[in-house]
């Protein structure tokens, strides 16, 4: 049978573990250090932190700059790898109007743009 002291120690350990976990999660959701720096000194984040730029024109067109490459391409989903995360564009009849190293344009009926953590 465990003593009262041990039980208390265990309970403290669990509590701190939970706090640490929460802290880690919060840290993960925050902007990266570079992005924060870019915001502080008023520099465009795409140049300093390498974040992608998405230009959505209406419902049927999106232009993306500053990315690494394509992860998935089907006519309903396009996943694009950026420096620290992944951009998913969902829709119908998606086409890539042009694709170069710097820039790409996706046309089609766009349903949504979501972000995923780096895979």
């Amino acid at each position: 049978m465990r003593s009262r002291k041990t039980r208390r120690q265990n309970s403290h350990r669990d509590l701190y573990k939970e706090i640490e976990r929460q802290e880690k999660k919060r840290h993960k959701d925050r902007e990266s250090l570079l992005e924060q720096l870019a915001g502080r000194i008023d520099l465009p984040a795409d140049m300093t932190a390498g974040v992608p730029i998405l230009t959505l024109t209406g419902r049927y067109e999106v232009r993306i700059e500053n990315y690494r490459g394509i992860l998935t391409y089907t006519d309903t989903l396009v996943r694009i790898q950026a420096k620290s995360f992944c951009v998913c564009i969902e829709g119908k009849r998606l086409e890539i109007a042009y694709y170069t190293e710097q820039e790409m344009k996706i046309t089609g009926m766009i349903a949504g743009v979501t972000y995923q953590a780096r895979t």
């Binding site: 490459g69 394509i70 992860l71 998935t72 391409y73 089907t74 006519d75 998606l94 086409e95 890539i96 109007a97 042009y98 694709y99 170069t100 190293e101």
Partner: protein, 416 residues
């Protein structure tokens, strides 16, 4: 647009990508600077378009990923030329077409005159035709500065004119001045003389000797301001005479006789509402083809519209002329007294407006309208005040005294 044209001129391929690692293949292509466009995913098969020279550079990516690009179709000018390589006449036709357009661009095919008010464009183009400038003249023989000088010297009321060749069009812009030419003739001294009979109402002299006073009655040709100036010495004796160009303003009270008449019986056009439309193809004034439906109109008005072939300022010597005929028949009618009076008044009003435009001040209107029998007449005088004067050269004998032969004694002193 420019990019599409470049793609067409250099040629491009539509390819189908067969294999599993398509995304990796696309990324590798992007890294190697191979542009892909119009990527489509149809039922799991990928289609893309790629430049002709990039297709060969795809090899390393193909080897790495195992994706096989299969050519679906070949598009662009190089392929069109290749497919039509045996059609010699077609190529000759295209070349001939280019050559003709190039050759036709060496000539003036249209002359447009804008800004003229008293001179109609037809009058100006007719005048230019007499001087060797017409639709069909070679561009290099058209001297824009020469045209400008010619028009300015021929039409004195044209104040400013510009001639410009744009494409195959000669554009003439005219600005007419309503100012009467009051500049004195450049040569010699001038009198100011009355242009018509009248009473002097006001006289202002800037240079010269006034010859009339306010209230004087003058006849046409009388000197109003003399160009001869007498030079009076201290003792009021005449020292000599000098001739100058008279300058000043003289307002004369004069009148215009006005007479106008109108027959009460007249014929009127009554349009039946029937109309037919035809069209024709013209080259310059020469008819190539024309078509007009058959009709049984005895009397009709013809209205035509011209459409010139060509792009913006590059016009070709081809015109489509649409003609529309409106049928009418004539009917005799009689004006009522009110209608006749209104018509005559309208004409008188136009006459007066024309006078006012010439800087004539109208003081009284003594025109009466009278209807007798089948004729309506308007007659009377219009009293006016105007600067009715003109220049007349000063003759030498008017001011030069007969030369007195002076005997000059030449004294010679001989020194020894």
């Amino acid at each position: 647009m420019a990019e599409r044209l470049y793609q067409y001129l250099t040629g491009y391929l539509v390819i189908k990508l067969l294999g599993t690692e398509t995304e990796r293949f696309l990324n590798l292509c992007a890294k190697r600077g191979i542009d892909l466009w119009k990527l489509k995913c149809i039922n799991g098969t990928y289609y893309a378009q790629v430049r002709l020279k990039d297709y060969k550079n795809m090899h390393p990516a193909v080897r790495k990923t195992g994706v096989r690009p299969v050519i679906v179709s070949r598009r662009g000018l190089p392929f069109v030329l290749y497919r039509n390589r045996k059609r010699g006449m077609f190529a000759a036709g295209v070349l001939l077409c280019f050559f003709l357009i190039l050759r036709l661009s060496f000539y003036i095919w249209d002359i447009s005159v804008t800004g003229s008010y008293t001179h109609t464009p037809e009058q100006i183009t007719g005048f230019l035709r007499e001087n060797g400038i017409y639709a069909g003249a070679a561009k290099k023989e058209v001297d824009c500065a020469g045209i400008e000088a010619l028009l300015r010297s021929t039409y004195e009321d044209i104040g400013w004119v510009s001639a410009e060749i744009k494409g195959t069009k000669l554009i003439i812009r005219i600005s007419e001045t309503s100012l009467t030419d009051t500049d004195p003739p450049s040569a010699g001294a001038q009198h100011i003389v009355a242009e018509k009979d009248g009473i002097v109402r006001q006289i202002v002299v800037r240079s010269g000797t006034p010859a009339v006073q306010r209230g004087d009655v003058v006849k046409q040709g009388d000197i109003l301001i003399s160009g001869v100036v007498e030079i009076i010495g201290d003792g009021e004796e005449l020292m000599g005479r000098e001739a100058v160009t008279a300058d000043g303003e003289v307002w004369l009270a004069t009148y215009y006789r006005y007479e106008d008449s109108l027959k009460l019986d007249h014929t009127e056009k009554l349009y039946t509402g029937e109309q037919i439309t035809g069209a024709g193809l013209y080259s310059g004034e020469k008819e190539l083809i024309s078509w007009l439906p058959s009709h049984s109109f005895e009397q009709y008005d013809a209205v035509s519209w011209d459409y010139t072939a060509g792009l913006a300022d590059f016009v070709l010597p081809l015109r489509i002329r649409v003609v529309r005929l409106y049928e009418y028949y004539e009917q005799t009618a009689v004006y009522t007294q009110e209608e006749a009076a209104a018509l005559l008044n309208e004409r008188l009003k136009r006459y007066l407006e024309n006078l006012i435009a010439q800087d004539v001040c109208i003081t009284e209107n003594r025109v009466a309208i009278d209807i007798a029998g089948d004729t309506a007449t308007a007659q009377g005088e219009i009293l006016t005040q105007e600067q009715a004067w003109e220049y007349r050269a000063v003759e030498d004998e008017e001011w030069k005294q007969p030369e007195i032969e002076q005997e000059t004694e030449i004294e010679t002193e001989e020194t020894s």
